[in-house]
């Protein structure tokens, strides 16, 4: 722990280690120092250099029962290279990490940069809740990841999850079927793949593919890992039990099971297995496919393939086999996964980001995204505030406290109550009630709708309907709409400024706020236009594209302060990158946001931005528990942050919670900084091996 101060020196020293030269030299090159021979990986130009300023501190790393040495190096080396120190919890009976820690300990003046504990899974919550740990990087099964997410809600440590081992292979009829069969072997029946495989084969090549697959399975050899003539080894008794249960259940549900290969019949060895005719609705088809099973299903067209492939909670990695470039790219872009290989499977390189989405967690390793996991923007506090343990998750935000009638009205009668802005127009709330909003002098400023669970549901549906069209637009078209909104805001400057004045701001400051909001809208529009797809040339003949894709529907709970600026500063990047949003505006004064909605009603397509007012805790609860919201940003109370983190375990949505700390929205670094750009989209690595 004392070695955290060593930071940069540790980086230099670590490069001299022989072990894992490739991962850590890449990490050093990306971190901006060190090895001139390492190929310079291009970093996303949208993230300026001072982002790489501060390492997080002590990282707790938890590895799954079957992990490969290379995976472990790819997680440890970047952490050490940017100046973090690591405490790793590894399953018992794995000597490799212990040897690595011993080597790290011999590095002279910095003992303790890598510490390894060898212990059972019950130590995981204990390690995660240690006070000194700043970030927990968990790698393992989805259920354990969920449990960890729930238990770490509100703790000092941030959590990064990399879950699941299943991958996907899409075989179209224009593919080289023999090579695709080799891809299946690489994915599921060699020691390079982490788990099982879902195989989608186009119906017209089903027979051919199955025949070749079965023939190829007959040639596989399994045995002890160090034997030079085997294809795959064993993964331990637990994995063997799991797969036996899976295969028995699959058979009882009517699937056909084919096993072949030259495999010893002792316990931890299991033959390569091919399961077909498994009905998609059967329980077996809902769980992750274990090693070494391949579950094969047919599809008719490429569009159906995308629907079937995206129809599971898994979002790790996939490969597309097609010799037609257009079709391959369409499928590659359409799959909701973290890594797509075209006509290959299982290629990995430390300079290419590897991660997932949906239930595969959203933490990354490798590439620039892997480094950002271990960095925090300069200026943010090193420790997250630790929160209360006594939050009752069942009752938080469940009941809406009733608001009393406003009392006698003074002055001109206010406008009729605003509705909710959902689906491009103002609608009455389901509960048909409103709440009063008071200005800084205590007078009634207006009435806004009291939104509830049904309204949130409707808003999320409207956002989902608008999402495909919006995400499909070019960045230029999106930027044009944002600029139109900025122009509309400027036309409305006097109204907005007068409302801000009533809330207690000075006229000059109010006008400056409106101008800054318009500027931010324009700036985000321009930023996303200027961003291209970074090409990474990994250790491969051919390019690897680092795509930035929209998350989907983003739920944002705006802070109380800066009712206009914060609202616009959060709306602009989300929309610019192709997301659609459901926003809960500032509780103190939602009227500013609703004024902006009046402009959005004319400028934006319906459903793009939806604004729901009401009791903040109740709406937060509805959004956090909603399984179809892809990410959530919460800038409210500390308790709310804790609830949001806890509830995100439901669909493992990425969460950004302020934990009650105020944020200076008018400062560029915090209000429009690179952190927003990083969190508002997700990365996908698209591998394109070349050659003919």
């Amino acid at each position: 722990m004392a070695a955290t101060r060593a930071g940069p020196r540790a980086r230099e020293i670590f490069t001299s280690l022989e072990y894992g030269p490739v991962p850590e030299s890449h990490a050093c090159a990306l971190a901006g120092r060190g090895d001139p021979e390492a190929p310079a990986a291009a970093v996303d130009p949208g993230i300026p250099g001072d982002w790489a300023g501060c390492s997080r501190g002590v990282i707790g790393l938890i590895l799954p029962p079957t992990f490969s040495f290379l995976e472990m190096m790819w997680r440890i080396c970047p952490a050490l290279a940017v100046g973090c120190t690591v405490v790793a919890l590894v399953p018992p009976a794995s000597p490799a990490p212990l040897l690595l820690a011993q080597l790290a300990g011999e590095l002279g003046p910095f003992p303790g940069i890598l510490n390894v504990l060898s212990g059972p899974a019950s130590l995981v919550p204990i390690l995660a809740s240690q006070p000194g740990i700043r970030k927990v990087a968990f790698c393992g099964a989805p259920e354990e990841g969920r449990a960890l997410r729930r238990s770490l809600a509100g703790e000092c440590a941030e959590l990064g999850l990399a879950l699941g081992t299943e991958s996907l292979l899409l075989l179209t009829d224009t593919a080289d079927v023999d090579s695709a069969v080799e891809g299946v072997v690489d994915a599921a029946w060699s020691d390079r793949g982490p788990g099982g495989l879902r195989l989608l084969i186009q119906e017209s090549v089903w027979d051919e593919a199955m025949r070749r697959l079965q023939e190829r399975m007959g040639r596989l050899r399994s045995g002890r890992g160090l034997d030079g003539a085997v294809d795959m080894g064993a993964r331990g008794a637990a994995a063997c039990d799991l797969v036996q249960r899976f295969v028995r259940e699959a058979q009882s549900q009517g699937a056909q099971v084919f096993q072949a290969g030259d495999v010893p019949s002792e316990r931890p060895f299991y033959p390569p297995t091919l399961v077909s005719n498994l009905p998609p609705a059967s329980p077996c088809a809902q769980v992750e496919v274990p090693w070494p099973v391949v579950v094969a299903s047919p599809f008719r067209t490429a569009k159906e393939a995308l629907l079937v492939a995206n129809g599971t909670p898994r979002g790790g990695s996939a490969s597309v086999w097609s010799e037609r470039l257009g079709q391959a790219l369409e499928l590659g872009y359409g799959l909701q996964v973290g890594t797509v290989w075209i006509n290959a499977h299982g290629l990995r390189d430390p300079s290419v980001p590897t991660g997932g989405c949906k239930e595969s967690g959203c933490s990354w390793h490798g590439g620039p995204d892997g480094l950002y996991e271990y960095l925090r923007p300069s200026g943010t506090p090193a420790r997250l505030s630790c929160l209360s343990k006594n939050l009752n998750y069942d009752t938080f935000g469940l009941a809406v406290p009733s608001t009393l009638p406003a009392g006698p009205e003074i002055g001109p009668s206010p406008a009729p109550p605003y509705g909710l802005f959902v689906g491009g127009r103002f609608q009455a709330p389901g509960a048909r009630s409103s709440r009063p909003i008071r200005d800084s002098s205590g007078n009634l400023h207006g009435y806004v709708a009291e939104g509830g669970a049904k309204d949130i549901r409707g808003a999320v549906e409207a956002a989902h309907q608008a999402f495909p069209g919006w995400a499909g637009q070019s960045p230029g078209a999106r930027a044009a709409l944002l600029w139109a909104l900025a122009a509309a805001l400027e036309r409305r400057k006097s109204t907005l400024a007068s409302r801000l004045e009533r809330q207690g701001a000075e006229l000059k400051a109010a006008e400056a706020e409106v101008e800054l909001s318009a500027r931010r809208l324009r700036a985000w529009g321009a930023r996303v236009q200027a961003q291209g797809h970074t090409l990474q040339v990994a250790g491969l003949r051919g390019p690897v594209l680092r795509l930035r894709e929209p998350l989907g529907v983003l739920a944002v709970v705006c802070p109380d302060e800066w009712p206009l600026l914060a609202f616009v500063s959060l709306l602009a990047p989300a929309l610019a990158y192709g997301n659609t949003v459901v926003m809960v505006p500032s509780a103190a004064c939602p009227l500013l946001a609703l004024e902006v909605c009046q402009d959005m009603a004319t400028v934006f397509p319906a459903g793009l931005a939806n604004v729901v007012t009401g009791d903040r805790d109740h709406l937060t609860r509805c959004l956090a528990l909603h399984q179809d919201v892809q990410a959530m940003w919460y800038f409210g109370s500390a308790q709310g942050s804790q609830f949001v983190e806890w509830a995100s375990a439901g669909n493992l949505k990425p969460v950004w919670a302020s934990r009650g700390c105020p944020r200076a929205w008018d400062q560029e670094a915090e209000g429009a900084g690179p952190e927003l750009g990083l969190r508002v989209a997700r990365t996908k690595a698209l591998w394109l091996p070349m050659g003919d």
């Binding site: 224009t174 593919a175 080289d176 023999d178 090579s179 695709a180 080799e182 891809g183 025949r211 023939e215 040639r219 030079g228 003539a229 085997v230 294809d231 086999w321 010799e323 006509n343 290959a344 003949r541 051919g542 091996p689 070349m690 050659g691 003919d692």
Partner: protein, 312 residues
């Protein structure tokens, strides 16, 4: 020798939809070389098996009867007698599969092998006119060759004239008569792996008994990616018709380690039935001496000097 391939009618639909992905095949080729290593006495056994697949070749401009005679004798006794005795394999009849020479030297080779009873294939290379190639084949068969290696016309493949290619190979088949036909595809000059697959299929459909990668004298000869594609074509032809066609890589196979990799490749892709001299040959000249050195090392534990082993 078993009955030769009668061939089938030309069916272009067998090759119309085929795609071969080059980087994926390259990756498979690397894997095969790494994943099936054989050691110790199994390695010695595999090496002896590899000897029985060799078509001992000499295709030089300066071949005369003396070096042909030496070659034929080496074909009959490929490994030194005492080494074979030490391995207890001296009575198993280990000889090379064949001797491969230019058409003009077939007579000398037949004379030298008269007592031995080995087969003699003839190689005829070059972009010569179809008529001259057919004439060479007939002369070689008259002289006593029992296997013929003929090169196809590459321009037909590069311009996609599959019917013309089929007809040409059909004519070779007729000219060979009862002799075995090995069709040399000259894969180094065919451009893409997809062309290699298509040419292999057409050659088999037209009645070749073996498909061969190259003469051994070109710039790019037998490489693993090309071999993988040809072996897949052989397997697909077997699935469609039930005929087993042989495979022969030639050129560039110099070390014993390479030969083991080739054996593993055939075993992986086609299975044990193809590991017979009737269905698999290796066209090589210096390979035999390297294998002999490996066997010497296995038996004695020492590395041989150049003069310890008889010249070929």
């Amino acid at each position: 020798m078993s009955a030769h391939n009668r061939g089938t009618e030309l069916d272009l639909s067998w090759i119309s939809k085929i795609q071969v992905n080059h980087p994926a095949v390259l990756r498979r080729a690397e894997q095969i070389q790494a994943r099936r290593t054989v050691k110790k006495e199994w390695q010695a056994a595999w090496l002896l098996k590899a000897v029985t697949f060799i078509d001992l070749t000499t295709l030089s401009g300066d071949d005369t009867s003396s070096n042909i005679q030496r070659l034929c004798y080496k074909a009959k006794y490929p490994i030194r007698e005492d080494l074979l005795k030490a391995l207890n394999m001296h009575d198993k009849g280990i000889t090379t599969a064949a001797v491969c020479v230019y058409p003009a030297r077939v007579c000398d080779a037949v004379k030298a092998l008269k007592a031995a009873g080995c087969n003699i294939p003839v190689a005829s290379a070059g972009q010569t006119h179809l008529k001259t190639r057919l004439e060479e084949i007939r002369l070689a068969v008259e002289d006593g060759a029992t296997e013929i290696d003929v090169v196809i016309n590459r321009s037909l493949v590069l311009t996609g004239q599959w019917e013309a290619l089929y007809d040409e190979i059909r004519q070779f088949r007729k000219a060979c008569g009862e002799a075995h036909l090995k069709t040399i595809l000259a894969t180094g000059e065919l451009g893409t792996l997809t062309n290699v697959y298509k040419a292999s299929m057409i050659a088999m459909m037209a009645g070749s008994d073996f498909i061969k990668t190259s003469t051994g004298k070109e710039t790019v000869n037998a490489t693993f990616p090309v071999a993988i594609v040809m072996l897949r074509a052989i397997r697909d032809f077997f699935w469609k018709t039930g005929n087993k066609i042989g495979f022969k890589p030639a050129g560039g196979i110099r070390s014993a380690k390479d030969s083991l990799a080739w054996l593993s490749l055939v075993k992986e892709e086609l299975g044990d039935e193809w590991l017979k001299p009737e269905l698999f040959r290796i066209g090589a000249s210096t390979l035999l001496s390297d294998i002999e050195r490996q066997i010497y090392h296995h038996v004695t534990g020492r590395y041989a000097a150049y003069h310890d082993l008889p010249m070929s």
